[in-house]
Subunit: 230 residues, 2 copies
Amino acid sequence: MSRETVLPPASRPFVGSRAPVTTADGPGLFAACPELIGTPAAYDREEEIFGEGEEAESVYRVMQGAVRTHKVLSDGRRQITGFHLPGDLFGFEPGEAHRHSAEALSGTRVLIFKRRQVERIATHRAEVACQLWSLATRSLRQAQDHMLLLGRRSALERVAAFLLDVDLRLGGTGAFDLPMTRRDIADYLGLTIETVSRTITQLEAEGALLRTGGRKVSLRRGRMHRLVED
Amino acid sequence: MSRETVLPPASRPFVGSRAPVTTADGPGLFAACPELIGTPAAYDREEEIFGEGEEAESVYRVMQGAVRTHKVLSDGRRQITGFHLPGDLFGFEPGEAHRHSAEALSGTRVLIFKRRQVERIATHRAEVACQLWSLATRSLRQAQDHMLLLGRRSALERVAAFLLDVDLRLGGTGAFDLPMTRRDIADYLGLTIETVSRTITQLEAEGALLRTGGRKVSLRRGRMHRLVED
DNA sequence: CGTTTCGTTGAGCGGGGTCAAACGACGTGG
DNA sequence: CCACGTCGTTTGACCCCGCTCAACGAAACG
């Protein structure tokens, strides 16, 4: 698998973190930890970053692009457990092996941290360990919110909630370009691609969004929110 | 709300942890931390331990009995995010307020730890912070497994997987007493009580389990496992 | 251009939901 | 001790949301 081919122009083994990382975990994880410098890497669209069962030797921070993590059943049914956008971390595992697979949704740049090194530092620097803790706790909360969605919400609510969430994480302007396919959305929401498609059509018919070509959408966030209605 | 009325005989504000806590997080969380001694408390069946929105000032460890944590939508739809058996911890939150409710399933004893105190200790004792981290990561993994179940498994698979899981957590003998109602099971599995009931009937008809009165069941674990497959 | 992948739409079906009734295990009071 | 009410569970009848199968349109790519 050739890395770094589809990627935009510019330096490939790029250095430092100049990406607009203003999301999630504040001013950057491990900020208070200069000896922890990630190794930059880049992945093509659909390229696997790690697979289920592989040894979990690294953790990752998205700098640019987007990543999905998922689990699969033996018959192919897939559940995407999370999308990771710039600023997000992923790849932490409690044991020695990954219990997920991870792939890049598009040309994606990440910083790689050695798991052993992170753990070693955490064992003698409480503030780093605390960061890891709060990070994991935040992911846990997200996971629990998603359980409510998967267990108890209708297709319409799922798609509406999803679009609002992506909008928020992408800047909250109400207009954005979906970084994932219908299949990815379906496998995240526990639906089929047909249902996702039909539901988006329905949302457009109800005036809750506008399809503005390709994967671009523009949300009427007021109407959208009324559909989710906590 | 009268605490400690339905509970078995014996001392109510009971002291120490004599319960058979051999589960989950090994030889007891905070074991390496003698200054962290939990305050014992007891709750009746169906009694609320904390509610969504309340200030999250404590974390809890189950010593005896069982606890459920859940989220609800405004129209009453409920998703149980976890059952907590002896040895388990619950009540951690990333923010200041609980984003769940928690109730006792039956007469239940817990140890209460002050969140502030735990956090204070974690900030200067890396090993405690690491324990918290690995705890959260383990919960996260469970949550992700449950997402796969909620998003992609059939009713039969859900119920079978659930029964196998409870069996395992209750000792793995194959015969046990379900500590929760059909409603709780349904709200955990994203089903209705009718579907849970019908599915158990079906499992019995297929010879995968035996109903041995009340909530007692006896699993044919071989057949059961073949239904979950993966 | 043809080919492939992705997205949309339609027709029909079925798994699981809804509504309703009856049953069994308890606990309470006559 | 039994009549009665309550609550949890089971079962039946019916229906609908979302899945399946299939065709077609629209980009992306060689």
